[in-house]
């Protein structure tokens, strides 16, 4: 197989990857898109396999090693993909980012050790300076992606006692100075590697990058995790592109930059939805201040009611919008909510779901959780699509959401001023289910809860919604 043919097949694979992303513009085309993606990957891997078979000197060992890696990794990946719970998707994605990062580091090390294997330089000749720079950048981004993703994984899972894995930000005096010093250290060691290709300098850069990855993520609070996961997604793409540059492989560059821009766009969307600048999230500003809850919360009078009262109001409504938040997913109440919606639909009530971009732990998380509960996607609406309808809605049911419906976002001077919210307060009646009056992530009191038209139903989301379903039969 000529190298030209190999490159053409790589081009086909690249086009397949673009098709895979394009398919995601609508649920009906998405599965075909995913098949394109798999086909592209298969083409790329088989082509590379054939290329290797032609170049290989020691076929037995090389093929055995390659297949062993493939079977072990593929097996683990397959099992994880089948077993993972949908609520755990953010952790899985963070874990997968770390895999890419570490793989990029390993490839870069192998390339520095034996550049001839990748046709970077003839045997026992030094690596050209351009490739040295690219290899170093690939390894640097890869290492930051790896250690950053490991920390993000720990923070998302919330199961580990280890302090760096806790949701609350880790901050210390002079943090930014330490980061700056490390970055400068990496740059100077990098310069050494560029001039004399020395191993210690290369490993020094990689080690510093591992530490930097940790230091960048630990000051970011649990509430900002959707941004972090998107950002690391972007990094993992750029790590792949960096490897593509050093190996002179356009397919890696194309695939890597597709992923890189995807992650960057998702980070932007998440930042906009949470009303904070990308810079302040990265520098760990907002997450830290967020803990200062207003002290008068819980002392003002709210109108509270039982699930039966809520069912009565719902039974007499004509239009209902459900606003699910992450609290709903934590309580595993998605199926109960779907049952409630079905019951209401049977009675001729129009039911819609309104999803805020940060309703879950990662972009689009809530949509997947609802899809898992078999909620039809044509009932599920994004914030921009549904916000105009709240004014004409009889009842809005807020389930385990808080900041995303807080009208304080319209009050100049509020900490969340300017944040795009679901305009639940415009509806005729609002039913809010929460476990307690505790403040949301932003630590702010929510005016919505004190309005005359609002009825609070306290209790576990799943139990409360199930009670509403039962009570609806008697209305």
């Amino acid at each position: 197989m000529s190298l030209n043919l190999v490159t053409m097949l790589y081009l086909v694979a690249s086009v397949c990857f673009i098709q895979a992303l394009k398919g995601l513009s609508h649920p009906t085309t998405s599965i075909r898109g995913n098949i394109y993606g798999m086909a592209g990957m298969a083409i790329a891997m088989v082509t590379t396999g054939v290329l290797i078979a032609r170049l290989i000197s020691d076929a037995g060992t090389g093929a055995t090693l390659l297949l062993t890696g493939l079977v072990v990794g593929g097996g683990i990946g397959t099992v994880m993909a089948q077993r993972v719970a949908m609520t755990r998707m953010p952790e899985l994605v963070a874990f997968m980012h770390s895999m890419i990062g570490l793989a990029a580091v390993f490839i870069a090390i192998a390339a520095v050790a034996e550049p001839h294997a990748f046709a970077i330089a003839p045997r026992s000749m030094p690596i050209p300076t351009g490739n040295r720079l690219e290899l170093m950048l690939g390894a640097l981004i890869g290492a930051i992606t790896f250690s950053g993703s490991v920390i993000a994984f720990g923070k998302l899972s919330g199961k580990y006692k280890f302090r760096l894995f806790s949701g609350s930000p880790v901050q210390f005096p002079g943090q930014h100075l330490v980061n700056l010093a490390l970055a400068l250290g990496a740059v100077s060691l990098g310069a050494v590697f560029l001039t004399n290709e020395s191993w210690p300098a290369f490993f020094g850069v990689v080690a510093i990058a591992f530490v930097l990855g940790v230091l960048i993520i630990i000051p970011i609070g649990g509430a900002d995790m959707p941004v972090v996961v998107s950002m690391l997604n972007s990094y993992s793409g750029f790590a792949a592109a960096g490897i593509g540059f050093s190996l002179n492989n356009p397919m890696l560059i194309i695939a890597g930059s597709l992923v890189g821009s995807s992650g960057a766009i998702l980070s932007y969307i998440m930042c906009r939805a949470m009303n904070r600048s990308f810079i302040s999230v990265i520098l760990g500003g907002f997450g830290g201040e967020a803990i200062t809850a207003s002290s008068d919360a819980g002392q003002r009078a709210v109108r509270s009611g039982s699930a039966d009262d809520a069912a009565f109001i719902l039974g007499n409504a004509e239009t209902v919008i459900l606003v699910p938040g992450y609290g709903l997913a934590v309580a595993r109440a998605q199926h109960a909510v779907k049952e409630l919606a079905a019951k209401l639909a049977e009675r001729g009530v129009t039911v819609k779901y309104a999803i805020h971009p940060v309703a879950g732990r990662m972009p689009g998380h809530m949509n997947v959780l609802l899809a898992e509960a078999e909620v039809p996607y044509d009932q599920v609406f994004e914030m921009d699509e549904v916000n105009g309808e709240f004014g004409q809605t009889d009842v809005v049911v807020v389930l385990g959401a808080n900041d995303v419906v807080n009208p304080a976002a319209h009050t100049p001077g509020s900490a969340i001023y300017g944040m795009p919210i679901l305009e639940a307060s415009r509806a005729r009646t609002v039913i809010v289910n929460k476990r307690s009056m505790a403040a949301g992530y932003a630590g702010l009191d929510n005016e919505l809860f004190y309005m005359d038209k609002t009825m609070m139903v306290f209790g576990d989301a799943k139990k409360t919604v199930e009670e509403m379903v039962k009570a609806l039969d008697q209305v």
Binding site: M41, G62, I109, F118, V375
Partner: protein, 109 residues
């Protein structure tokens, strides 16, 4: 005239691909942002191509160990990424079948 260096050609490809990515990703419906992230994980596992070269074509122990490990790590994403994306997308599809029970009954008989 000199031929443009590899790095410059690669840079052109990089910038154009970023541009394509920007436009394609803005068209992704927000409901599918989680599957998008899973599938981009699988796509960035394209580094497996580099890992395969490292595992098979190197002769030193260091090169081989690094290459094999990188193949395994990237393979986790190749398989895990595409399969979990598929699993999620199937969830979005189920409802369409439900709305056309006649079609399902036909295929069953």
């Amino acid at each position: 005239m000199d031929v443009a260096s590899h790095t410059v050609t690669n840079l052109i490809i990089f910038v154009l691909a970023l541009y394509v990515g920007y436009h394609v990703v803005w068209n992704v419906t927000p409901a599918l942002h989680t599957p998008l992230m899973a599938v981009t994980n699988a796509i960035s596992a394209i580094v497996i191509v580099g890992a395969m070269l490292a595992a098979a074509l190197t002769d030193t122990t260091l090169g081989r160990v690094m290459g094999t490990a990188a193949v395994a790590l990237a393979a986790v994403n190749v398989f895990g990424g595409f399969l979990v994306t598929r699993r999620m997308l199937e969830m979005f599809r189920k409802k369409e079948r439900r709305t056309s029970p006649a079609a399902t009954a036909d295929s069953g008989s």
